[in-house]
Amino acid sequence: MTAAQPFNVRVREIVELAPSLKRFSFEPVHGGVFPTPPAGGHVLLTLRDGARVMKNAYSLVSPPSERSRYDIIVRLVAQSRGGSSHLHRKVAPGDVLEMANPVSLFPLISTAKKHLLIGGGIGITPMLSFLPELKARGARFELHQLATLEEVPVFERLLAPYAAGEEIRVHGGGRAAFDLAGLLARQPLGTHVYVCGPHSLMEAVASTAAALGWPKTKVHKESFGGDITGLPFRAVLRKSGIEVEVGESQSLLEAIEAAGVEAPCLCRGGACGQCATPLVEGEAEHRDDFLSAEEKAAGTLIMTCVSRARGPRIVIDL
């Protein structure tokens, strides 16, 4: 499967929700409407800053009934790799950007008796995509959003349209005050939990649920641009006959693309499996959620979007 052809979108509106949070609304350049946004779906934006090309994935936060625009919320992070910083500082209303068709790697489970949503920080964005869908289904759900004290009012405003009569809570007291084990322990049988946020929160939910005896199939994590940084290394692209240097704050995929080599990719977050590339020499430090433990141990494939070399050099069949 190859990624669909990207299309052009125009920035219709930029709203500052908080000093580090902006909501961007896009509309199709050539009129008409967008495809129905999938629940838990995201889009890939291609951002160009001079010769530099960045591709970033963002959850769609606009509801499926609203197809004249797509909304994303972007946080400006201190050590931004470029994409979020570029959007915050350089993109203005009227600008035209390249967007790929929306994809969902974080769907709602149709057989769930109840949906428990846990967001951390900017991990609120897929939750905002879930809420109108859960409301439309008349599904039973409960949402807990972790936030810094400054973020609490911002997130409460974002959640307000869905809050009437629902169990929606924003927690500003820090992780220590959030009783995750108690929350998971009191859920009725048949509940599915969905978590998006920092890696440590997602791991805490997964391990706490496992310790309480939750089946693995009822725990769902959005991998949201996980940590791709690490020691620099050199990658030899055997078929292309070139070598690329992968910098500390750059992914293998980004280094390959910067060298002008077309590489398969879709989610850019280690989830979809599209970028699996044969590893010919060297050892991989696997950071993806796609390969099984056995496949990772076999060491014959590497997911270029998130995984790195363990050592100074690898050879891949690309």
Binding site: M1, T2, A3, A4, P35, T36, P37, P38, A39, G40, G41, P64, S65, N101, P102, V103, S104, P107, L108, I109, S110, T111, E133, A136, R137, T217, L266, C272, G273, Q274
Partner: protein
């Protein structure tokens, strides 16, 4: 060119179903080469292709009205041909949206969809339907949304729910099936419902196909062709009705084989649905008699070679051994032994009526 519908043709008893010359040339002939073996023959379902059957997302041809009437008749006799499990309601609405929007875009002369927020109006001119309803409110339609729209489309449809790294056939509209039963299969996993297929399991075809389909992306539908053979142009070859159509196999003689035996092709399409993350699986059935195939030199040579050399286990699974040799004997003198071009295109522009 506007298609001329043939509302009176029948797919049982009198069997007045017939293909016009234009309809024959748009047939999705299933063999890209002179031999056949199972494979994961999946490709992107994009508009345009080797015949006109690939020009739309959901193909409408001259048999549209007659096929919808036959479906209604089968459902009246056996309502269980359409079943959807309760957790698939979101997938039902996704399907209705997907089919209505594509029919309206591909055939504006036949179908119109207008929307004012959630208040939608659907116009189906060939069937004389105008329906206003509220999207998401099943009580505003005369039946469930999936049944409603698949009553107005050619071909069978199933709904696959995705969970636990597997697909489950949790709904369907199945009235033109090649001998499988929705009533029996509903709720089964991918491996379970493919259980009876020979050879392909050993080749790992289903494991690879499942992995591929679990990653099927929204907005990037895929398709494949499947085939079997059917005696008489009968759409409903269901296990439930085997006593009705099974004996037909014994009616084939060397004299009537070309008119009686039909190549039955399924244009199978797979769509990821947005709200539900389910997969809509279309199984569009095309029937073409051996006599009609024989009007296209490339197709008759190739069908002859495929059937002559077919693996006996595949022939047995498809239920054709009783008359297979008669078809081969009919086609053999029509195969001049010359080479055939790769792919399924008929390699001719026009057939004289």
């Amino acid at each position: 060119m506007t298609v001329q519908f043939k509302p009176a043709e029948t797919f049982r008893d009198t069997f007045t179903y017939k293909k016009s010359p234009e309809d024959l040339l748009r047939f999705p002939f299933p063999f890209p080469e002179d031999s056949y073996m199972y494979s994961v023959n999946i490709e992107p379902h994009v508009r345009g292709g080797p015949t006109a059957a690939f020009q739309a997302q959901f193909d409408v041809d001259e048999h549209y009205i007659a096929e919808c009437k036959e479906r209604a008749r089968i459902l009246a006799e056996d309502p269980k041909r359409c079943q959807v499990l309760p957790h698939m309601m979101t997938a039902e609405w996704d399907s209705l949206e997907m089919i209505m929007e594509n029919l309206a875009a591909d055939y504006p002369e036949h179908f119109t969809l207008s929307k004012d927020g959630d208040a939608w109006t659907w116009v189906n001119r060939p069937l004389g339907i105008q329906q206003s309803f509220i999207f998401g409110k099943a009580e505003t339609l005369p039946c469930g949304p999936f049944e409603y729209i698949t009553r107005q489309a050619q071909g069978d449809f199933t709904l696959q729910d995705q969970r636990e790294d597997n697909l489950f056939v949790d709904g369907g509209m199945v009235t033109s099936q090649a001998d499988w039963s929705l009533e029996f299969d509903i709720g089964m996993s991918f491996q379970e419902w493919h259980g009876p297929v020979p050879l392909a399991h050993e080749k790992g075809v289903f494991d690879r196909a499942l992995k591929y389909l679990l990653r099927l992306q929204y907005g990037q539908p895929v398709r494949r062709l499947n085939w079997t053979m059917t005696v008489n142009p009968r759409l409903d070859t269901s296990p439930e009705n085997y006593p009705v159509w099974g004996p037909d196999k014994a009616s084939v003689t060397p004299e009537n084989v070309a008119e009686k035996v039909h190549l039955r092709v399924e244009l199978q399409t797979l769509y990821r649905l947005p709200r539900s993350n389910a997969i809509l699986f279309g199984i569009r059935c095309y029937l073409t008699s051996v006599a009609d195939i024989a009007k296209v030199p490339k197709w008759r040579r190739r069908l002859h070679r495929v059937l002559r050399d077919l693996h006996p286990d595949i022939a047995a699974y498809k239920g054709i051994p009783r008359y297979q040799q008669m078809v081969v004997d009919y086609l053999a003198p029509l195969d001049d032994g010359s080479a055939t071009s790769p792919g399924i295109a008929p390699d001719m522009e026009k057939i004289e009526a």
